[in-house]
């Protein structure tokens, strides 16, 4: 399954782009997305553990199943206000 993960802010600067394309075995959960991101983008290593995933604009836990047409976003290093 091919999946793109949106990244933002400092994490987008760290990886040099705003989306990261991943290929995952099915079925896949956000835990698999996290592992694949860590492997694909070493620059995210220090911030990935403290980051959460949103699927279709809702926060989800790591056991949430993802599908190829889901909008998956990495929500990390946030600093509003």
């Amino acid at each position: 399954m091919n999946l793109t993960v949106k990244v933002f802010g400092p994490q987008a600067r760290l990886v040099g782009r705003e989306e990261v394309a991943l290929t995952l075995d099915e079925p896949a959960t956000c835990r698999d997305v996290r592992r694949a991101l860590a492997a694909t983008e070493p620059a995210l290593a220090s911030s990935l553990d403290a980051s959460r995933f949103a699927v279709n604009h809702e926060y989800v836990k790591d056991d949430h199943r993802v599908a190829a047409d889901d909008e998956v976003a990495l929500i990390g290093m946030i600093s509003g206000g």
Partner: protein, 138 residues
Amino acid sequence: MTRPIDITLHQGPLPPAARWLVAGAGAVVRFEGVVRPTEHGRPLAALHYEAYEPMTTQQLHGLARSIVAEHSLLGVRVAHSIGDVAVGEVSFRLDVAAAHRVEALSAMAAFIDRLKQQVPLWKVPRFADEPAGLEAQT
């Protein structure tokens, strides 16, 4: 009774806002976040803010509803910049109205703490001594 909640994402620095009065309120508190001149001692030109819409606005609404309920507020108004905000300009404004000051002040502290934990908003420094980089393309 209506508990007004107003959420705005604004492109660029926030313009000055008029006084916000809510019927029955005895305490109206406004927080404004201003871009400071340095970050970790390095001179800044601006902060570049990003949101992830519609999730950012949805999260701000949900947070505002929670804080209104938990602190018995009469209303909450939030405005946050997206894009570039230069040093000395306002990037964030929170208005809270309550019957009494204690609820208003505790609500304000709680709102900002949780904003920083849960609302998808990012900032990227634009240092005074560097050219515009990737940010210029986004």
